[in-house]
């Protein structure tokens, strides 16, 4: 196990960039801007990376901030459904694996908030937006975890769907986001594996355990398909995001990919997926699946999912309860800096 110190050095990147660090200087002329825009478009067309100090259209910046922040929020809120089982994990090995997994998710949140800060956003401000409901997180985390089998199914299906969504983002046009995604995807593939391995083990256990696995699969299957977002026809921003290469495939393409990969895994596991219309279509070379209840997705996104209020309340409470601690840390840092300055003055 790497030392805790190593872990902290990796993740302790609170400083980020100044709020306006990446913006063009105010004295830039119209000619400069036209040239900068041409360069931006060339970089995108050549599939090169845009870096924080490069000029970028405001809409590109705003779209990315929204996308990356929502992703960061999802990592952090996503700690809750599984974290709820940490104190009840039925073996010490599972307790360690689950703790390491939930810890990874906190790390993912940190990388992504850092990536967001390179765009001029501020972590405290983003957190405020999350806890006041002004920014969203993945609606999947608004479902409850009812048995330990849910831990396995979340790893298999939810982390699995996240991988499908995220692997293409390793080639996102925005450099810091792409680099964060490379690192995150490596860990996610492991999250998926531990989940699948838990389910395999439980399926080899008692009849009661097998029933828990089946029940969890039934509950999580459709919400997992919804993780890819609305169908392409109702996803108005997809085209622009794809042109900017901050999205590399459409929602429906990614969803199809997930279904095609998951069906054989379900067969290997010995569970059936709760969709009577699910069958191989030789003509298309893909699995067909039944209609998705989009009303449910919009209900959950609107805030009417089973756990929306609880998830936000927990995050808000942690943030508010931690305020005095964060204030103490900055007060102490300020005192130290003042003492150091006096010390330096005396020495000089």
């Amino acid at each position: 196990m790497p030392s805790a110190e190593e872990v902290m050095t990796v993740t302790d990147r609170r400083t980020g960039h100044g709020p306006d660090g990446a913006r063009r200087p105010p004295e830039a002329t119209l000619a400069d801007e036209t040239e900068a825009q041409a360069r931006f478009e060339r970089l995108i067309a050549e599939d090169q990376r845009i870096e924080p100090r490069d000029w970028m259209p405001e809409a590109y910046r705003a779209t990315l901030i929204r996308q990356v922040a929502q992703h960061a929020h999802s990592e952090i809120i996503g700690m809750q459904p599984e974290g709820a089982w940490l104190t009840r994990a039925p073996s010490l090995r599972r307790k360690a694996i689950l703790l390491a997994k939930v810890q990874d998710e906190a790390g993912h949140g940190l990388y992504l908030y850092s990536a967001c800060e390179t765009l001029g956003a501020d972590r405290a401000d983003l957190t405020e937006k999350l806890v006041t409901g002004r920014q969203k997180y993945s609606s999947i985390f608004n479902y409850p975890t009812l048995s330990f089998a849910d831990v396995g199914v979340i790893g298999w299906l939810v982390d699995g769907a996240a991988i499908c969504n995220q692997v293409p983002l390793c080639r996102s046009s925005y450099g810091p986001y792409a680099r964060a995604m490379i690192r995150i995807c490596k860990e996610e593939s492991f999250h998926q594996r531990q989940g699948y391995e838990l389910l395999m083990t439980m399926m080899g256990g008692t009849e009661e355990q097998r029933a828990q696995v089946r029940d969890a699969v039934d509950r999580w299957w459709w919400p997992s398909l919804m993780m890819f977002g609305p169908p392409d026809a109702e996803s108005p921003n997809t085209a622009r995001s794809m042109a900017w290469r901050i999205k590399r495939h459409t929602n429906d393409e990614l969803r199809q990919r997930f279904v095609d990969i998951t069906v054989p895994q379900a067969e290997a596991l010995g569970v059936s997926l709760p969709d009577p219309d699910l069958r191989w279509n030789a003509e298309r070379g893909h699995y067909d699946h039944g209609p998705i209840d989009w009303d449910e997705l919009s209900r959950v996104i609107r805030g009417d999912g089973p756990c929306n209020a609880e998830r936000i309340a927990t995050r808000r409470a942690a943030h508010r309860d931690g305020e005095w601690v964060r204030r103490a840390a900055s007060a102490h840092a300020a005192k130290r800096a003042a003492r150091d300055a006096v010390g330096a003055g005396v020495a000089g």
Partner: protein, 308 residues
């Protein structure tokens, strides 16, 4: 559509599960790769008792730390606390397995054979059979309480482990040698926060001082010696916790000094004083441990034949 295939990992050999985790491996076998010879002439019952106490301290403390998950004051602290909990959990697993190896009689009767020793001891023992000190039992309070408890616990544990790396029991020596740098980090982490909170704002000063006052009545017990420990010391496998008192007092007073906190009084326990009395180490616990175990053991006990 050119997709990158993230699913390749799934088809790889699942036996290598450990090496791809971001933070933490060693999930598989608690004692793998360690020389587990039992040294000659050792009282096995006493040696096992001694190891069990050290294991239970780590297990219960790890559990309390894991309760902080999703409640930490900032994300960096989520990562740090989970990391400390993982270190302690790792120590607990190796030590539990060793305790059961030294004295198979510790394994609770009637636990199905497929349950590994570490889990039989963690999930199927009653509170009165736990041997942890009471310091680790209380439910988590605020962050000031956490910092105080972690500072006290890791300062004491580091002093113990330091001495145990010379144990005649090769497993205890190996676990201690690996754990020393881990717990040294835990102590530094807690000390860093004690200083930031103590010398931060009025509120943080008050809260960490209150935390220290709350845990202080449970400190004396840390230096009490049990019969099993005395025997283990005589056999060269154990450490007498009483020998850690001076180091503990010294570290605490230095941290408190930097943190502008009044160190709670530590008596010197001169020759005339009554020795500290073991409590948790002899199975006398607070009600909090029973509640903790009821939750921790609930799933394992609901499915004794289950496979995890």
């Amino acid at each position: 559509m050119a997709f990158d295939n993230a699913y390749e990992a799934l088809t790889e050999d699942a036996g290598g599960l450990g090496d791809r985790w971001a933070h933490g491996t060693g999930f598989q076998d608690a004692l793998s790769g360690v020389d587990d010879t039992v040294p000659a002439g050792v009282d096995l019952t006493a040696a096992a008792r001694h190891v069990l106490g050290l294991a239970d301290d780590a297990l219960v403390m790890a559990h309390r730390l894991s309760e902080w998950c999703t409640h930490a004051p900032e994300l960096e602290e989520e990562v740090a606390l989970a990391n400390i909990a993982l270190d302690l959990l790792g120590q607990a697993r190796s030590l539990l397995a060793r305790a059961a190896q030294l004295d198979p009689g510790l394994r609770p009767a009637g636990v199905p054979g497929h349950v590994p020793d570490e889990d039989a001891l963690a999930f199927f023992r009653a509170a009165e059979d736990y041997r942890n000190v009471r310091l680790v039992e209380a439910p988590h309070g605020d962050f000031g309480h956490l910092v105080a408890r972690l500072l006290v616990f890791s300062t004491w544990r580091l002093a113990l482990l330091d001495r145990l790396s010379g144990s005649r029991d090769p497993v205890v020596a190996a676990v201690a040698a690996k754990a020393v740098p881990e717990v040294a980090y835990h102590r530094d982490h807690a000390a860093g926060w004690a200083v930031r909170l103590g010398d931060g704002t009025d509120e943080s000063h008050r809260r960490v001082a209150e935390g220290l006052a709350e845990v202080w009545p449970l400190v004396e017990e840390l230096f009490a010696t049990t019969d099993a420990e005395r025997t283990a010391v005589a056999d060269g496998t154990g450490v007498d916790p009483a020998t850690t008192r001076a180091e503990f007092a010294d570290v605490l007073s230095r941290v408190c000094d930097q943190a502008t906190l009044d160190p709670p009084g530590m008596d010197d326990r001169g020759a005339g004083d009554a020795p500290a009395v073991p409590r948790g180490r002899t199975g006398q616990h607070t009600a909090a441990l029973r509640d903790l175990l009821a939750e921790m053991q609930s799933v394992a006990r609901a499915h004794p034949e289950g496979r995890w």
